[in-house]
């Protein structure tokens, strides 16, 4: 809940391109660094000051659906959060929805086909759970960063398959070699996510919780390594004039690439640290 004067103050500030914490409209706060492998029993994990992401891989039957047997796996992101954080159930659902949608789409980077080891029937399912430790605004972007890091940290056991039985009831014996593992294919091509919050007639990035309350339109953009948008979703109770979209996306691009670069460095650093541990 936000008071009218607070709202006016923030909107005014944005208009004057001077935000409460001294940033300008398109300045982001310093990005939080990650610790990979923070959760030993998970297949992969990443922890930052604000978020904890755990990845668990499991084997599942995909329903056998005719010719185009869907050989994709599905990545579910399910967010559990501690009560007091001021995040509404709906936005949580929206975010999870966006993340799984993006990661499951061709633009998501991950090579999903490679996760299916028994044609048409059995494949790996990657479950991603996000725990929000502290809510400092701009959740979706930071969340996706963390997920990206966690996936980069994820290892899947190798699987060998043999067939048995007959008819529709035929079944596959497979044994999972726990010691032999491999990384997910295409983690590095996962895009970065930047959300632009329209406040008044201007848009900001990386808003504080208060600023979020003042924004009536959010435009979430996924930026690929090539610097091209690969997903654009509009949220919020307001509407936008098409003409405004252009520079919104431009800004998104700028920051997307920046965060990608930074992510690479982060992940490299962490990987190094982990390898040194062994």
């Amino acid at each position: 809940m936000i008071s009218v004067c607070e709202r006016d103050y923030i909107i005014g500030g944005v208009q004057a391109n001077a935000r409460g914490d001294g940033r300008r409209r398109t300045d982001a706060r310093p990005l939080l660094s990650f610790e990979l492998g923070a959760v030993p029993q998970a297949s992969g994990s990443a922890k930052s000051a604000a978020l904890l992401v755990g990845v668990k891989v499991a084997i599942a039957e995909v329903s056998h659906v005719g010719a185009q047997a869907d050989d994709d796996d599905d990545v579910e992101t399910m967010n559990t959060r501690s009560k007091h954080l001021g995040i509404s159930e709906d936005s949580i659902r929206k975010y999870s929805d966006f993340c799984s949608k993006l990661l499951n789409s061709d633009a998501g980077g991950l090579d999903l086909a490679s996760l299916c080891f028994v044609p048409n029937t059995t494949c790996w399912v990657i479950h991603v759970d996000v725990l929000v430790l502290a809510y400092t605004g701009n959740l979706l972007d930071t969340m996706f960063q963390a997920i990206r890091a966690a996936l980069a940290n994820t290892l899947i056991p190798k699987v060998s398959v043999e067939e048995s039985g007959s008819g529709l009831a035929r079944s596959f014996e497979f044994d999972v070699a726990d010691e032999e593992t491999e990384e997910l294919k295409g983690v590095n091509d996962i895009p970065a996510v930047v959300t632009l919050y329209k406040i008044g007639n201007y848009h900001v990035i990386d808003p504080t919780p208060l600023e979020e309350l003042c924004s009536d339109v959010q435009l979430t953009v996924a930026i690929s390594r090539k610097g091209l948008p690969c997903a654009i979703h509009k949220y919020g109770s307001g509407s936008v004039d098409p003409s405004l979209l252009a520079d919104m996306i431009q800004d998104a691009k700028k920051h997307g690439l920046a965060s990608l670069e930074w992510m690479d460095r982060e992940i490299q650093r962490e990987k190094l640290r982990l390898s040194n541990l062994e």
């Binding site: 007959s166 008819g167 529709l168 009831a169 035929r170």
Partner: protein, 274 residues
Amino acid sequence: MVNPDTFKKLHPQEFHRRFLGKGVRPDGREGLMIDLLNLTLVTPNRIHRNCKRKCARSNGWNTVICGIKAEVAVPDTNHPTTGYLVPNVDFPPICGSQFKPTAPGEFTQSVSEMVYRVVKGNNILDLETLCIEGGKAVWVLYADIVFLNYEGNAVDAALLAFTAALKDTKLPVAVYSDVEGTVRADAADRSVSLDVKRVPFGATFGIFEQDGGAKMAMADPTDEEEAVLISSVTVVVDGESQELMGTFGAQVPIDLMDQCIGQAKKRATAIKKL
């Protein structure tokens, strides 16, 4: 100052008593008599044109759509050559504000069960004919009966939609290959139509108790009427053989019941014409 709608809302019992006392119903129909005009079987011009589907709009304004999906499955170990026919009635929240978006409640389930009982034993169609390869693969016919607008008398509407859909369901020729253990069929050409042995028609009558305690039956009650009924009677008649295929009901005088059955038979023949 108090208009009929308000009055109906505030004292439904009284409202209907005043009509039925005069042997008339709020929508102008008469008690036991079935007004056939009220009962149209629509294969709507625009809506749901699809070989596997049929929309039945029955008794007044109920809008029901029954979709039949044919899939293949492994037969039950104890009956290796019988297929499945699985009718399910659903009342999604769209069809009335009284229905909440939750798992089916007692009402929904009991309607499903009634339909199922009529369908079950009475070999409406011979489930053996759904066998593709004994012990390996049979057809499963999922008959999903979805209400889009519900205004009372669920069973009749559901049955009507069901039979209509079943009658014009056509299956493709299915081939079982033991090698790959799969069933293949050409979705495009559906040549095998089901041999439907019986066509169950439901006729439901609301039992209303007048001030004197005398009971009267009214055919095809609306949801508003249902609210003030003491009970109702459903008679299912086979349109082919005129035999009965089910009677469900409560608190009905024996002679009135006989009348209802008579009416139900009349109705079955009438619908068959449509």
